[in-house]
Symmetry: C2
Subunit: 277 residues, 2 copies
DNA sequence: CGAGCGTTTGATCGGTGTCAAGGATCGTGG
DNA sequence: CCACGATCCTTGACACCGATCAAACGCTCG
């Protein structure tokens, strides 16, 4: 239940940019908007890190911890959540391969929420001091990291809106759209056919609903032909319809422009009133 | 309804740190955790800015805009909100005097939500390029600004949790606690007696409830003696009880340590089960 | 084959939303 | 200083979405 088993260690050195350095993932992510110069690249690839494997449900950070490291997700899925006084759990973010899952812990002293493995994961754990040093010595990298945290915050705002102002159907559809677009944008799946690595209980914790109600709603959407489920995988039968039901506009994901165009108007709707109640 | 009337202009110059420079507010906020050196201080105080007065409901930024400036709130209250397809509004943040209300717009190209005046406001509007330049040339300042955005994100996560997993009573109580603590921490009011600059409709838009239900719930809390309302001001009769009802733990606000101690345990409860349903 | 977990289903309850109307308050102009 | 309109607050009756409780079902993996 806590930290996973296998763990290799390795430090920055002259061979840092060998092809199997997992920090390439971080480099790609941070450099996606504007490519880095050689020195910036080298600085990222020379970051010290420890590689770890986590079993499902393993904690990376617990609420209240004073984190010493940040976490780059190399494979699998992580989620972040908070717990309320009566035991309820609220998931406030899902992370996919390539995400820097808790950059905020590099500057804030105490973790205000927990970070946990959704599926078995591989992560690279980077000392928070190294992250800070990099951020402030190499402005281009610092900007990219700051930017990542800002996008994370933008997604949080959309979740607030989703949970606060959309009924269950739309709420779930919106989550499915977001998940699909992020997976596809990361090159991990097609937006119309992917594996949803969440139980219905976890979906409920993302959306502020009950597992039972998630079940009924999903089932309803399935029987209407909106989507097709089998075990954990989801096939979206009609993307533009799902977008309409979910009231989904991807602007808040702040994707690179070329990617944005693919989602901008799944069916032509944008700000107008909603179809497909 | 849009931008307010009066507007003086002024640029960075040798007299920048005169006593009436409104950027002192920014300096105090950013330097609250760790004081700046002289050069950092000067760099902040020499930032170019334009001063503006806004009427209530005036927009500073609209969703979809490509902002060219960031906004330092000198006086009054601002709020940020998103609108869903069927017209519902969700407020996702409240800003008080001294807040840098939309720092994210310094790095993200397109505003993913609107920024609007809750009350008549004075703001200083700073070119986004100047903010970026400052952030990356003066690491100590950049770190403080990044940190501000991270705290903002932390509050967003708490709102997700509040809206997603707490019933109306707790939800409202939580919001009242947060507001009180932030006001007091900024030296603007006492946490047990302050003016709540929001209509019940706006409270509803913060909490994902209906105005009618906000009214009943508030009224119920009033008649129970939890709080006393008169026009817009709120007197908290029993802080520790409100904290208990609101399931409020202030850690997520990441206040400076000395301030934190005052709120940490209003009544001794912390993670345990809740009293006062 | 059994245990454990996740899904499905039905019956019922209750918290919040909706609709509608009346009352209070406040700023503004006559 | 009063009248007026606009905005906000208050209240009641009722509807409904989603929660709760409880049980059975179906995978999947030792």
């Amino acid at each position: 239940m806590t930290r996973g088993p296998s763990s290799t260690h390795r430090n920055g050195n002259a061979m840092a940019d060998g092809p199997h350095n997992p920090l390439h993932l971080m480099l790609d992510r941070l450099g996606s908007r504007r490519p880095f110069g050689d020195e910036d690249r080298a600085a990222i690839l020379n970051l010290p890190y420890t590689r770890q494997s986590l079993g499902a449900h393993a904690y990376v950070v617990r609420e209240g911890d004073k984190p010493t490291h940040c976490c780059l997700l190399l494979d699998g899925f992580l989620y972040r959540h908070k717990v309320v006084g009566d035991g309820g759990r609220q998931i406030c973010a899902i992370h996919i391969k390539g995400d820097l899952a808790d950059l905020q812990n590099s500057l804030l002293e105490e973790a205000d929420h927990s970070l946990q493995a959704l599926t078995p994961c591989d992560i690279a754990v980077i000392p928070r001091e190294a992250i800070r040093k990099l951020a402030f010595e190499r402005p281009a990298v610092g900007e990219a990291m700051w930017r990542e945290t800002l996008i994370d915050a933008s997604i949080s705002r959309e979740w607030i809106t989703n949970i606060g102002r959309r009924p269950a159907r739309r709420r779930l559809a919106h989550l499915l759209c977001e998940y699909a677009v992020r997976l596809e944008a990361a090159g991990l799946a097609e937006r119309e056919k992917y594996t949803l690595e969440m139980t219905q209980e976890q979906l409920a914790d993302c959306t502020g609903l009950t597992p039972v109600h998630v079940n009924r709603t999903l089932r309803e959407m399935d029987s209407e032909g909106l989507l097709t489920r089998s075990s954990r995988s989801v096939a979206v039968n009609d993307w533009s319809k799902l977008v309409a039901v979910g009231d989904f506009r991807p602007d808040y994901l702040h994707l690179p422009k070329d990617q944005m165009d693919r989602y901008q108007r799944g069916a032509g709707q944008s700000r107008g009133p909603l179809g497909f109640g």
